[in-house]
């Protein structure tokens, strides 16, 4: 029975001809778009995670604490919670850092009547709260401390990148969904045409007592086979585009979004894409309707 259903499905696929090929191309197009957006979003996500790890908050103090009170101030800051590491930067250390950054112009700093730089504490948030929301909350808690003049830093630009990724994912989903609907409709049309060609066969099948499953399964398999072929085409297209683009993109990445490498979809993600193709095809096949006598 299984071989009968499989053979009938393959026979139908051959009969679908050009419409069948169009359906495969449309599914491939929609999966390539979905896969492309997925790939980019995946790598953007990695960049965001990586930058999240590097988030620092600088807490400027109103006054430089005397050595005896420094421990107490540091403890008060730590008690706000969500902090992984603290590093105290004294006024003198801040000035030294300024001079280092000025290089050959360092003597400009020597002209200053007094050290204008405030003492500060460099705060590294816990990995768990190194998100835009978590960092915002931490900043709010730090600002509320009496010893604190101002708090700078955080994750504004990481937040921007995250918003861009969300927008990107949304656009990808919308484009993918529109193409997926078009693909389903094309598979439905292809299968309906085949059903029309198979009208006599289906009439005989019903008359001799074939169950609805035996009549429907070849339809479903036909659509699924189209979806599978399309998913393989889409993956191959993505792989080729990846191979062509990566050598040109990778030198720019460390200086732009800070990534060393662009990753391709994992085997599991590739399988998910193939599964999506098979599902799109199967839905198209099942939606097909043929006018067959009872």
């Amino acid at each position: 029975m299984l071989s009968f259903i499989f053979n009938e499905a393959m026979r139908d696929l051959r009969r679908a001809g050009r419409v069948g090929v169009s359906a495969i191309l449309l599914i491939a197009l929609s999966l390539t778009a979905l896969g492309g957006f997925w790939l980019l979003s995946l790598n953007l996500g990695r960049a965001i995670d990586q930058w999240g790890d590097r988030v620092r908050v600088i807490v400027y103090l109103k006054e430089e604490p005397p050595a005896a009170k420094l421990e107490e101030v540091m403890q008060r800051i730590e008690t706000v919670g969500g902090i992984q590491r603290l590093r105290y930067v004294s006024k003198a250390e801040a000035l030294r850092a300024l001079k280092r950054s000025l290089g050959s112009q360092a003597d400009v700093a020597d002209q200053l009547p007094r050290n204008p730089l405030p003492a500060s504490v460099e705060v590294t948030p816990d990995a768990a709260i190194a998100t835009p929301e978590g960092t915002r909350a931490l900043v709010a808690r730090l600002v509320a401390l009496n010893e604190v003049e101002e708090v700078q830093g955080g994750s504004q630009w990481v937040e921007g990148l995250e918003q861009f990724r969300r927008l990107f994912q949304g656009v990808g989903l919308v484009v993918g969904a529109v193409l997926a609907v078009a693909a389903i409709l094309t598979v439905t049309t292809a299968t309906t045409l085949v059903l029309h060609l198979r009208r006599d066969e289906m009439e005989i099948m019903r008359l001799v007592g074939a169950t609805e499953n035996v009549i429907r399964w070849p339809r479903l398999l036909q659509g699924m086979a189209q979806g599978l072929v399309a998913a393989i085409v889409a993956l191959a297209t993505l792989e080729i585009a990846y191979a062509l683009a990566v050598p040109r993109l990778e030198p720019l990445l460390p200086v732009t979004i800070g990534l060393e490498r662009v990753l391709f979809l994992s085997p599991l993600q590739a399988l998910a894409l193939i599964g999506a193709g098979a599902m799109l095809g199967a839905v198209g096949g099942l939606l097909a309707r043929g006018r067959v006598p009872a």
Binding site: F4, D200, I204, M205, L207, V208, G209, T211, V214, P293
Partner: protein, 223 residues
């Protein structure tokens, strides 16, 4: 094998309402050969369609091969049809398949084990004298041969009941006699036969119990 009680079938409603069958009742015992006669439009085909579950009756009760057809759910119709062989006026052979493939198609659809398909299909073709034409395509057959292939397809699953809807309607006298002979052979091997025909000259030749339909009513049951 078949029992109808006050069966009516109405198509359409209002001014386009057509009563195809009107309170038809009869029974056919297992192993009987019964002729269903009547002019075109008398309701023969509608009656046969009710018997194999292609249409529900508007009124009345139908029992076929132990199935209460009136109460049968859609999903149960295939089980009923597996116990019935059906032949039509046109052979309904599948054009892209050989005679053998047409007959074997039924067995494949019904999930017959692969090893049994060839012997069973050839046995059915032998029963209708068409073994030598097994590899021919429908367009290479005469009308009589096509109808014999159609008969082979109807009996290949060894049904207990054969419904023949004007199988000789398109044939000349010689070919019609040939088909009639084959149907009688099938009946003589124990299959119940309901043979519908509008050809009045065939009825006396058959010398069997005859049900006559006129305008959807059963007007005669004799023989």
């Amino acid at each position: 094998m078949i029992r109808l009680q006050h069966v009516s079938k109405v198509f359409g409603a209002g001014p386009s309402r057509v009563a195809a069958l009107n309170s038809v009742s009869f029974s056919i015992a297992k192993g009987e050969f019964v002729v269903l006669s009547g002019a075109s439009g008398a309701g023969k085909t509608t009656l046969l369609r009710l018997l194999y579950g292609a249409e529900p009756p508007s009124e009345g009760d139908i029992e076929v091969a132990g199935f209460d057809v009136t109460e049968l759910r859609r999903s149960e119709i295939p089980r009923l049809r597996r116990s019935i062989g059906i032949v039509f006026q046109d052979s309904k052979l599948l054009a892209g398949r050989t005679v053998f493939e047409n007959v074997a198609f039924v067995l494949r659809v019904l999930g017959t084990p692969r090893r049994d398909i060839t012997p069973k299909a050839f046995a059915a073709l032998k029963a209708v004298g068409l073994s030598a034409r097994a590899q021919a395509y429908p367009n290479q057959l005469s009308q009589g041969e096509a109808q014999r292939a159609s008969l082979a397809r109807a009996i290949v699953k060894s049904p207990g009941l054969l419904l023949a809807d004007e199988p000789t309607g398109n044939l000349d006298e010689e070919m019609a006699a040939e088909i009639l002979g084959l149907v009688k052979d099938i009946w003589s091997r124990g299959t119940t036969v309901l043979f519908a025909t509008h050809q009045a000259r065939l009825v006396p030749q058959l010398k069997r119990r005859t049900l006559r339909l006129e305008g959807g009513r059963l007007v005669k049951d004799e023989g």
